[in-house]
Symmetry: C2
Subunit: 122 residues, 2 copies
């Protein structure tokens, strides 16, 4: 029973993978955060917040915790006066390269196509 799926195992595995990826990157802010860290290397908490327009400290804090829990971001407390905290991608986070690039390219292409289409119909 429950063998209605005609999708092959490899397809199901792929879809599972896509879903996992999406879960880890879910929400409004994880992508901009990862993007900023990906393109810039390291950031302190407030600095990161300032570079991501519109994010509240509460949300930034929560998102960073999520990302840290999933081993995509590393948090380092620097024993400076005043104390500072640095965030950076882990190797696992940096391994998102292809995903980030693919999504970035597709998104910009899509935007162009939508604009072109909008102009056509105007």
């Amino acid at each position: 029973m429950a063998e209605k799926s005609k999708l092959s195992d490899s397809c199901l595995r792929s879809i599972q993978g896509i879903r996992d990826t999406q879960d880890l990157l879910s929400g409004k802010w994880k992508i901009p955060i990862i993007g900023a860290l990906y393109f810039n290397g390291k950031f302190r908490f407030m600095d990161l917040g300032r570079h991501i327009e519109g994010i509240a400290p509460k949300v930034l804090s929560k998102e960073l915790k999520d990302l840290e829990m999933n081993h995509l971001v590393k948090r380092t407390v620097k024993d400076t006066m005043p104390i500072t905290v640095e965030y950076e991608l882990t190797p696992q986070g940096r391994s998102l390269k292809k995903v980030i690039e693919a999504m970035g390219e597709w998104g910009t292409d899509y935007r162009k196509a939508v604009l072109a289409n909008a102009l056509e119909n105007s």
Copy 2:
């Protein structure tokens, strides 16, 4: 004023693209839907529902409308008796190939890494 960003324009454009992509694929179900259509070609409404475990018709309907509105999925009413409706990816939807592949690969790799790590610590 408001020039706090040290991120280059090309980075910001990339992040915008990633965000656009993610918005279009947002929610719990769009990825499994696109995945099924991507790996299987065409599906009728109920068939698609049956292949995506746990989705309610209301939600499937809404997600398909979203995808159709964004030109990623094409809906075709077949004038058969009983009437059937076919859903398939548009060329624009199929152009998600690289994104789908990148996310699928990264997700399965991540899953393996997490499993390996869990075994190490057991």
